[in-house]
Subunit: 400 residues, 2 copies
């Protein structure tokens, strides 16, 4: 069902010196599936992250924030799928810390040097004993296996890799992510991990992760639901070339953004029940913020998304969403395009518009909705999918 998304080819995913991947089948939710991933980091690796803004953030998010704030050297990340350890109160905190302690003992570091991540069902106790028991069965793995070990309702694993030339040599950038519902990240997606072997100071990495999140995981939505567990982490192991000059840092940031955008888009392509991948671009606004507001009003509207599903250019629904975006717009200036079909011009139907042209554009699995506000120079892009029968089916049957 995923839109123009394939299982990543293992050979295309560059190993990142300084990151060792290991996975286990711990039976977190049910037996027989890869559900625990451990990423061991070389000494001296920089790690930076951004997390959900949901007030009900999950126990592992609270622990991650604390451990990153301490700025002690992070030595490992542990991810379980099958249970989100969210809405679990003080008991959830205890269980998240128990996992950190057990892994720290296993690899010989302090619990504060572990970052824990959980994804899956909310408000059920984390089976931390099973996860900890799983540590004794960890097996070496590649990035493709790692991407599989963090899936929940994803139909395909998500991984992407690139290289970037720095002054002192070539650095590798590889990442994995998971979706596929409760996707309207606010500071990061459900789970995204990007690693490079370049050496980057921790402080610079923190500003990089924020900018990368804004241009990738913070620019997608499946259903407008911001998860309790969203986490996006960038790791720079320093086992490869150092990025120190402004030029190197800019090149590395571009590579990190490229990987992050590919992962974020993969989440949308594999959005629950998705049959269309839609780019919503809002241009010529007064500020990026107002462009994003308009783009998200369109991308969140169930009426617009069901029209996407039907390839139905019921474009009034898009204009209606623009109208209630909460921006003080002058509607008589607004143009609306579907790909290169000019549908609405200056707030009304384009006299030359022929509906069959818009239908043809919308029948494709990918198209762009472009709204031109004609009142400034800012722009913003959001990626989203349609709302199909299967979205309802998947979410009505998730636990039953």
């Amino acid at each position: 069902m995923a839109v123009n998304l394939q299982k990543p080819v293992a050979e295309s995913l560059h190993a990142v010196p300084g990151v060792e991947l290991r996975i286990a089948m711990a039976g977190v939710k049910k037996p027989g599936r890869k559900d625990v991933l451990v990423m061991r980091l070389a000494e001296g690796a920089s790690v930076a992250g951004v997390f959900t803004k949901n007030r009900f953030c999950a126990a592992p998010v609270i622990v991650c924030r604390k451990h990153l704030k301490a700025r002690g050297a992070i030595r490992a990340l542990v991810v379980n799928t099958g249970n989100a350890n969210a809405g679990t109160g003080a008991d959830g905190m205890k269980r998240a810390m128990a996992v950190c302690r057990a892994l720290a003992k296993e690899i010989g570091c302090k619990p504060e040097q572990i970052l824990p991540f959980s994804t899956g069902v909310i408000m059920e106790p984390l089976p931390s004993d099973r996860i900890i028991a799983g540590f004794s069965q960890l097996k070496d793995a590649g990035w493709g296996d790692a991407a599989e070990a963090i899936m929940t309702t994803d139909t395909l694993p998500k991984a992407f890799s690139t290289t970037v030339k720095l002054a002192k040599g070539e650095a590798r950038v590889t990442g994995i992510a998971k979706g596929a519902g409760m996707i309207h990240p606010n500071m990061a997606t459900m789970l995204g991990f990007v690693a490079t072997d370049a050496a980057v100071p921790q402080k610079i990495l923190f500003s990089m992760v924020k900018r990368a999140a804004d241009r990738s995981f913070n620019a997608i939505t499946v259903d407008g639901d911001t998860s309790t567990n969203d986490s996006f982490i960038v790791i720079a192991t320093g086992k490869g070339p150092a990025a120190t000059s402004p030029k190197d840092l800019a090149a590395l940031e571009r590579a990190i953004i490229e990987v992050s955008q590919n992962l974020a888009q993969a989440i949308i392509r594999d959005g629950e029940g998705a049959t269309k991948f839609v780019t919503v671009r809002v241009e010529k606004g007064r500020s990026e913020a107002e462009c994003r507001k308009v783009a998200y009003a369109i991308a969140h509207s169930p009426l617009v998304k069901t029209a996407f599903f039907a390839s139905d250019p019921n474009l009034g629904r898009i204009l209606a969403a623009v109208g209630y975006a909460g921006v003080d717009l002058d509607t008589e200036k607004i143009d609306l395009h579907i790909d290169d079909v000019l549908v609405a011009k200056r707030g009304g139907r384009n006299p030359a518009y022929r509906e069959e042209d818009a239908i043809a554009a919308m029948k494709k699995p990918e198209f762009t909705v472009r709204v031109v506000l004609n009142r400034g120079k800012a722009a913003a892009t959001v990626w989203t999918c349609d709302f199909s029968f299967d979205y309802v089916k998947i979410n009505a049957e998730y636990r039953t």
Copy 2:
């Protein structure tokens, strides 16, 4: 499919002296259905209204605002279904005014004394000629027929009636409304009309309509989409007893709110694809505004709404929605109830909670989600429905 909603019994709907109802089959969208309603008002009637806050408001909404602002005596309302006359620019304004002029000529008043309303498909030219031609075929009708003549995707007409004792005699209050999609009214629902024969000064009626809207049409959501055409009108013909004392005015307002709430709830009961009618009540907040914000975050979440559809107490989804409502909450104080089942206590799972109890509550066609913030004295209630296969079906196939 509607949840505990019946076709109103014609005899239960009190005629309102001073309001004459007439309907026609004008073939606005297709022939052979009641699609034009004219409400003629007695001289001296007070009329007050609230309208959509969508920036792309429809031509008839712009005309209504102008005509009400002129505060000339309104002599008639004209409603067509089948076409919303929205996103139609200057041409749409011309067509709305042509309808007003034709009706004014027919009944002998000025065009400014007519209020026009349109509902149906967006961004297609209003067939004003057919509507005007329909004026010659108008036939006397009751409130039940009037409710039918304004339906779009509604499966049942919506009407409600009551009486209220005032010092000088009994007044009647009768109203009609329509849904059923693009329902997240912001100042009023798609279309709601409430009439009383009580005499109320125009100025007082204006403040009454605002308060009634906030407690009825502004407290419902099907899909979070604020329509371009939302209009809610209250008419006081003055043919019955005058309401002048504070006590009379309060009693009349209560009756208007009762009728409006019943109509607003009927819209939700008949929401597109609805199989559940859900009351979301948020209590003990610091302000009504923050309670409404939390209630709407729950009522808008596609994940929560698909869980309602499945009678699945995936209650973490509700807590997640509370968490991203944009209110600076202390999650450790929050309790969550489904009817009288205490699910979450102080932000975590209630140890005594048994899932089968919540399932039993959610299997009923009506239940209440109650969130207690435990930090103040304010409260707010929102009514919503679930998200079903049929919601997607109806909206994917609306025009095809």
